[in-house]
Amino acid sequence: MTGYAELHCLSNFSFQRGASSAKELFERAARLGYRALAITDECTLAGTVRAWQASKDAGMPLIVGSEMRVEDGPKLVLLAEARTGYQALSQLITLARRRTDKGCYRLLVEDFPASTEGLLAIWLADDDAQHAPWLQKLFAGRLWLGIELHRGTDDAGKLRKQLQLAQACDLPALACGGVHMHARGRRALQDCMTAIRHHLPVAEAGAYLFPNGERHLRRHEELAELYPPRLLAETLRIAERCTFDLGQLRYQYPHEVVPAGHSATSWLRRLVEDGARWRWPDGVPVSARSLIEHELSLIAELQYESYFLTVHDIVRWAREQHILCQGRGSAANSTVCFALSITELDPTRTGTRMLFERFLSRERNEPPDIDVDFEHERREEVIQYIFRRYGRERAALTAVVCSYHAAGAVRDVAKALGLPPDQVTALADCCGRWSDKPPSAERLAEAGFDPNNPLLRRVLVLTGELIGFPRHLSQHPGGFVISEQPLSMLVPVENAAMAGRTVIQWDKDDLDLLGLMKVDVLSLGMLSALHRCFDLIERYRGTRWTLASLPAEDPATYAMISRADTIGVFQIESRAQMVMLPRLRPKTFYDLVIQVAIIRPGPIQGDMVHPYLRRRNGTEPVNYPSEELVPVFERTLGVPLFQEQVMELAIIAAEYTPGEADELRRSMAAWKRHGGLEHHRQRLTTRMLEKGYEPAFIERIFEQIKGFGSYGFPESHAASFALLTYASSWLKCHEPAAFACALINSWPMGFYSPDQVLQDVRRHDIEVRPVDVRYSDWDCSLEPGGAVQPAIRMGLRMIRGMREGDARRIETARRQRTFVHVEDLILRAELDARARERLADAGALQGLAGNRHQARWTVAGIEPQLPLFAGQAPIQEAPPALPAPSFGEELHTDYATLGTTLGPHPLTLLREQLSTLRCRSSRQLLHIEPDRLVSVAGLVVGRQRPQTASGVTFVTLEDEFGMINVVVWRDVAERQRQVFLQSQLLRIDGHLEIADGIRHVIAGRLTDLSALLAGLDVRSRDFQ
């Protein structure tokens, strides 16, 4: 029997040790004619699923194992012979990992279970027999002595000693390679990773580096030179014994979700029927009834009841705690989910053509995927509920494998090659933020590097190799895996960086491959805001709205959206969205779904926005590439916008099976990093050409598929988001005061600062009242005001540096009795110096102590009262001779302490000066004809350089009437870099462009007018 199986091999999931991916390892092992390959990453199974995939691709058997060092004990390679062995291994790793902080492990002798049935062990001994007895007892008949020869100082001597040891202990010996890389060519990268691991430059890491590059998958002849044949042959015996395959793992849903006496099927039906009666109290409509029956039968057929029941259980609990939530993702927008309250999107009412089957397919042997968004501030409660309900043994978060992007890779490599920190930073800056390519020669030259310098070339080559390597495991924000058995029997569980969290070693792609159930518990700030808004309205008007009860398809709301009057609204508030709204003029819910999805890198890069726009506005005929594709593209006027459409296209036009189409989806998400779209291109092209599609159309479709890249936005997500967009728009339209109030109370969230939200609401004629300890709560609140809309009372939370506890004590003390003077306030609300000063400076004591100067003087003079003198009137002092704050001072202090002002906008004060400079206001701009030369000025509130727009920066200026959109082309920005980047108050000379009702000033010249702001006050201070 000849041949060899490598039984000790690390992949790059042994972070900073293994210098090759499982794919590379398996491909080389297959080329060299190995009989099997074990992937034995150090105390981890995080790379196992990828190795499994690579093994299937290469047609080379995988042995699952792990290398571990027992504390004060031997170094072992453990291999899973059978499923029981795999489970034991997973549990061992869990024990060793849970004992320490993230990233480390401690394996103790006592961790080994009494029975290690199904687990084989290779002992990597260092000439010392002391561990032999217990190892032999533990792994009776399943223990080998591994001999690793790497052309070291004295291989012959080592081999002799090891064979003696094997004989002395009566153990079979075998050869293994201690492989760290697939081929010798990775030696430099491996050295470099070692240096990174030890935080040393390579040149100083000599003591840790391997003396040569022998730790790769060696050719059989090379091995035969080193090892006696029987040591090589022995590896095959192990390879034959190890029959475990990852596919043998079985997952069971948790039992709790089905009460006794019910089957999963009957219980799901019962819950859906109850839900349907509650959703449709006047009787379930026929359309809904048939959908329910259809969906339930599909669920039963695929045996996904428990999945729906599990999600339902989480959502039910959240609703009981009054936590707002909304499901999205495949399967979420079904009638069943609507009945189960997993989604608020009524599938019978939306008029969309979304079909449940598209999200849950018979052919795709993969569990459904439902993400649930919860209120941002209360998601932690939901997470803790899940841990409570299923126990830490059975519920854990999924991992996220953090991989090297270009910037991180170049940073680590450059550091390891000894570049000084400033240059390391400069190099990292040469990479785009999420780029996966080493910086280009031009970019480097621009930054002052010589791309031909040998050191820099070394950095770039190694960077290229390191990019895409996993770097560490991190926790998924909310992806839960829940199972019936302890999870550690399925996959090792380790501690997360965050206290009280445990994470499994697999990420969501791994789970998908193995068909494990996952629920994403995500968080959304807008849900918090909506909840607050509903509460505010109920308190003020007595009406309780819910996401489902808001009037649908309200024309006033759509009219507002079409005016781009959407500051604060979910998803369609960004400048790019606002520019598009008057062009698309959404009129129905499905228009909103498109609106949400269209302003994204995918459609923008795929150049789908403008064709859609033209077709919608009737300036381009709607046509379809073929009759058979009409149903697919009808709803988007023949333009592919959604991921689902591309998949459907593949199924219909290129005869993909649904399973293959799903693989296409996966490839779309991953091609940037891993490539692998090429065979899809060939397949799509050949098959579509056969069916008579135009080559140009095929080419365009493929470009669009690439454009989707990592950004592909599925229709199902867009629909769920659009529901929140509609709800927030409706509230902004009909309850603007409550909506603004809720937004500010939920801040930070969204694009706009509280200042911008308040200015917006004031432009809508809603009264905003100042912070005042006599009336303000911690939160902003509603007070009776105008005829329809209440006034907004600014909350104490607006005061910079104010602590919530102080504010809450003020609320409590005020409820008992109104404050008679400042001393009364301070003593009863127990305010320390910091709190009083904040209140005085913010002007919140106006009603008790007069202007800011007086208030600050007064609070400074209040001394802690001794119990003996309690209740005495304050010490009488002569009234101080303090000047009143000037207009400009008030303005500056407003911005400094509250971040906003209720007085005139700073530009009101400067308007006269600006007029003499011939600067127009945003209001005047509305009446100017296009292509005219104009000058405008405003506070710079935004500078955005979208990745999708080459070289353009969108600058937003704010004046007393609103916003001005400015486009600054790269040459202008470069020429006037300093003014461009540093102005607070900026003047633009340029010309006005109008397209579809959107006005842009195209900048020709920039002037810094910030000095005018300083002139408002003797002190110069930052405005924002």
């Binding site: 790497h150 052309r151 070291g152 100082t153 004295d154 291989d155 012959a156 010798r184 030696r187 430099a188 050295d191 390579v202 040149a203 100083e204 890491a205 000599g206 003591a207 580096l209 003396p211 040569n212 590059g213 022998e214 090659l417 000894g418 920190p421 400033d422 390391v424 930073t425 400069a426 800056d429 930054a447 002052g448 040998p454 070394r458 000063e837 005085a840 400076d841 800011r852 100067h853 600050r856 003087w857 400074a860 003079g861 001394e863 002092e877 002569a878 101080p880 001779a881 303090l882 000047p883 009143a884 704050p885 202090t893 870099r977 300093q978 980047l981 540093q982 003797v1018 002190r1019």
Partner: protein
Amino acid sequence: MLWACILFPQLAMDGVLRHRADADSPLALLAGPAQRRVLQAVNPAARAIGLRPGQSLIAAQALSQDFATADYNPVEIEHWQQLLAACAYGFSSQVSLHYPRCLLMEVHSCLSLFGPWPRFEARLREELSALGFRHRITVAPNPAAARILANVHNGLVITDADALRQALDRLPVQHLGFSREAATAFSRMGLRNLARILAQPRDSLSRRFPAEVLVQLDRLLGIRPLALDFHRPPDVFEQRIELNFDVKSHQALLFPLRRLTADLAAYLAGRDSGVQRFVLHLEHRAMADSQVQVGLLRAERDASMLFELTRDRLEQLQLPAPVLAVRLAARDLPRFAPERRQLFDERPQQSLPWEQLRERLRARLGDEAVHGLSACADHRPERAWSTQSSIPQPISPLRPGWLLAQPQPLREASLHILAGPERIESGWWDGDDVRRDYYVIQTRSGQRGWAFRELGSQGPLMLHGWFA
């Protein structure tokens, strides 16, 4: 008493600029951790292109790539402060570094020596400008006031209390030397200058502000004195002898050298210290000094030993040009601890102790010729030895004791290979990648050697070392 305050608004920057020829091109001093470098100071040229102190380096680079950077070095700053204090000490014996980045000096008592203030001031400014430090000078009846006035004035001279009060009254509260919190509190109360503050009743102020605020007010008005630590000149020995003629031979330098070393020894004895390191400067016309560095293993102060050692070193030096002056500078002056000798010294008469032998060898042969041997963590044999490293590491027994400086081909036919190959592949990072298979060989004569063959090469074995 009359106090001058000399404020150096750009101390760190000027300290760096005085070494640079291109003082007018943009320069920024950087501070902060490597991940977040921040501009600490900028020169006017840098200011003109938009750089500001406090900016992050990244933000600055976004503005311009055309500026030089240097480190902001607090140690340097301390050094310059000492230098400036020493300079001021030439004018007044009461010089204080009480406030950072400025000098306080009592000037009233010096007026008789240096003439009326304007002349005195002109001389001071001339000297400071020559040193390359921008400065602002104010004079006031008390040091605290002089310091505060220097924040906004330059050249202001106030000699009486009334004028002082007038000048101080108008100063903004941020410049009065209060803590940031107190200054903020005052300005938030609308008390934006000293006049407004002093208009408030004192007990109202004392109820609202910590005691330091009132102390500072009193100091400014001269009601309460400021306790100052006065500068003492540093403890260094520096002496220069100008020669009467151009000296071209070593011989002629020995006499002044003997005097300098004798003076040094006397000085050391006087302050009970020794010297561990000193420099003999030989000054030439129109070129940099030649320097003779003398380092000792331990502090010494014996005149003849110092002279002998210096002479040994001096004699090795080629004089590049005639010498005009010699200067001896000693900064490292640790305490002297005489060696205890046993009453009956057992050492043979002629032998030298190891340390002295080593020093003698180093002095005679040069520092480069005598060094220790230690192992270095590098797999490449030629780099595994280091002559500088001071931390000795064990050298592997399987490595030869004598490594050849240059490997040489082994032409001997009847070699016997004892062990190997041991493969060494390392060093790619410095462009000197080594890929070799090493063998232990035995020659016909029984010598054991260490030889290698480049990986993939068919050539002869290269001998790299001999085993002992």
